[in-house]
Structures are given as C-alpha cells and as structure tokens.
Amino acid sequence: MLSALGGFQPRQLATQVLNFALVLSTAFMLWKGLSVVTNSPSPIVVVLSGSMEPAFQRGDLLFLWNRGMDTQIGEIVVYNVKGKDIPIVHRVVRRFGGGSTPLQILTKGDNNAADDTELYAHGQNYLNRVEDVIGSVVAFVPSVGYVTILLSEYPWLKTAMLGLMGLTVVLQRE
C-alpha cells in the first residue's frame, strides 16, 4: 500500500499532501469562523460531568453564543476558571452589578447541593461575565459528544483515528 507513495511525481505528492492538509485546515477554519460569529473561543462544548442533570447528560453537545453580555438568572453559561482548563457548564443563580459596573454572576449545577464558590479560583466568590464566561448555551444535541469523551479518556484512540484519516486521504484519489 505505502509503496504507492514512492511512485509519485513531486507535484502529485504535493497534491496528495495538500488534499490532506486542506481537510484539516478547513475543519480548523470552520471552527474559527464559528468562533468569530459567536464571539466565543470555544463555540461548541461537550458536557463532561453529570452536574447539570437532568437538563444535560454527559456527552451532550452544547452550542454557545457569547454576544449580548447581559446574562440573566436562569441562563446556562459555560465558564473557565483561571488556572484550570476544563470548561464548566452551570446555571446562573445570582447576578450583581451590570450596567456601568462589570456584571458579576454566581453559578450552580442543577444536580449539585451547593453553589460553585468552591469551584472558583482561590479567593474568588463570583464570575466576571466578560472575563470568565465563554458563552451561554443556546442549543444542544444529546449524546453525540460522547465520542470526544472516549477520545479524551483514551488518548491512543485519537492518534489512531488521525493516522487512519491521514492514510485514507493520502492513498485515495477520489
């Protein structure tokens, strides 16, 4: 199979490599385009915990929107805590400030007993809407994100999938 690569002319090889690169870069640029439209660094996230059950299950795919910063109580937001890089999906239960002062919010998981003060960075008692929140949930698709949970829990799957993808694109011509 791989001997097929050896016989290519330089331009043909360049074409095959380009086809693969275009698949990856198009996916990346679509993602970035969506980021620009939604104004969110991560416009689609997967629910990783059961803390929002029964609203969201592990593996649900959420679509975020980060324009319109006047977040109301009851909205479900996704936020990043400084120093931790896992986004958290929880519901807004209190809001302070707003208007001329920066809007601050307190969140809580529907399925959790206490609010999120424990989860925030050390000494932080609320979230800054502009700095910490990456978007409000506007739509969701159940379960389809479970694949990415599998991929992140078994990293070798990721490598295997990427390798397989690359090989297919390079070896097939149509």
Partner: protein, 209 residues
C-alpha cells in the same frame, strides 16, 4: 510504465487515474514539452490557504484567543476566499486537464473524463494544426483496449490509439500510427471483453494496408 502496477479493472476511477498518469509519460517521451502552469497555480492557491490556517493555529496555540481574536476574522475570510479560488480553479479552469504543453511551438491541451459506471475514456484535445489554427477534437475509447483482463496497463495500444487519433501526436510518433482497418480489435467490436492472455503482448495487431 516501469514496474507495472495491477489495478482493479472494475473500478472506473482506477482505470482513469492509471491512464491519466500514463498519458503525460508517453507525450514527454516524445518531443512534447509539458507545462505545469495549471498545477502550479492550483498548488500555490492551496498551500497559501493551508499556510494561513497553519499560522493562525500556531499563533492561537501560543497566544490564546484574547490575543488572536482581531486576526481571526481576516484570516478566516482570506482562507475561504483562497479555498474558493482553489475549487474554482479545479472545476472551471483545469476541467480535467491531464496534459498541457507544446511541441515545436504548437500547443496541445488534453482533458480527460469518464462517465459513471462506463469503462470509456473520453478525451478532449485542443491543439494547433499544421497551419497554426487551433482545433478541437473529441475522442473516446474503451479502457479494454489498453488494460488486460488482469488489470495491467499495456502502453503500446494506448500509444497507438493516441497517435492515430490525434494528428499532432501522430506526426511526432509516426511508428505508432495505425490505419483504421489495422487497429481492428475484433473482440472489442463484438462487445466482448478483450483481455489479453499473458498480459504482455498488446491486444492489437498492426496490420497496415
């Protein structure tokens, strides 16, 4: 045509790709000078787009969203414009060109296509006639003419077909020009599979009258 590769004879795209690759090889072995202009423009468009996306990826990975945010929109727009130009180039400009070049100042441009589930090779040949006038001819032939039933490409009948059908190629390679009556592949005319037993000897017999 070195190291003959075996292909699946029931796959029209395999038949087409192998033949597409053989065509420039044959013409280059004559006096034809191949021009890679079309391919080079396509590669340039594609790789520029990939480069933009790669740069954004690296920048984003190193600096994060807050820093890259203002550059993201222009990069995304530029990427999709280039990507669109790339696609347009393939569909509207290249349109299946497999060989472009010239011999002694006379231009030739050959485009190939196949139709779904039909083992027929269609060529559109644009070339300058002896008087320098641009001409276009459409030719077609069954792949069975130059593929054995085992799936090996046989160069001779393919070259004979091209040299006989395209005057400009025939002038460069007179020895491969065969008359209509001499090309007779009886099996093919009867609509039967014209596989060759040993996969080595060409399926056509040269019989000039």
């Amino acid at each position: 045509m070195s190291a003959p590769a075996k292909i699946a004879v029931y796959s029209v795209s395999d038949l087409k790709n192998t033949t597409d690759d053989a065509l420039p090889n044959y013409l280059s072995s004559l006096q034809f000078k191949q021009s890679h202009k079309l391919t080079d423009v396509r590669l340039l468009l594609g790789y520029t787009a990939v480069l933009i996306s790669g740069a954004l990826f690296y920048f984003d990975w190193k600096q994060g969203w807050d820093v890259t945010k203002p550059y993201t929109l222009p990069a995304v727009v530029a990427y999709f414009i280039l990507n669109g130009a790339f696609t347009w180039w393939i569909w509207r400009v290249e349109r299946g060109v497999v060989f472009m070049g010239d011999v002694g100042g006379r231009k030739i441009r050959i485009s190939s296509r196949t139709e779904k589930h039909k083992p027929i090779y269609f060529l559109t040949v644009d070339y300058d006639s002896e008087k320098g006038k641009p001409q276009e001819i459409q030719i077609q032939a069954s792949f069975t003419r130059w593929f054995t039933s085992e799936g090996y490409f046989v160069a001779k009948p393919f070259q004979q077909w091209l040299a006989s059908e395209v005057p400009l190629i025939g002038e460069q390679d007179p020895s491969n020009v065969v008359e209509e009556i001499g090309r007779g592949n009886v099996n093919e005319e009867k609509g039967m599979a014209s596989g060759v037993g040993d996969g080595r000897s060409p399926p056509t017999r040269k019989r000039k009258v």
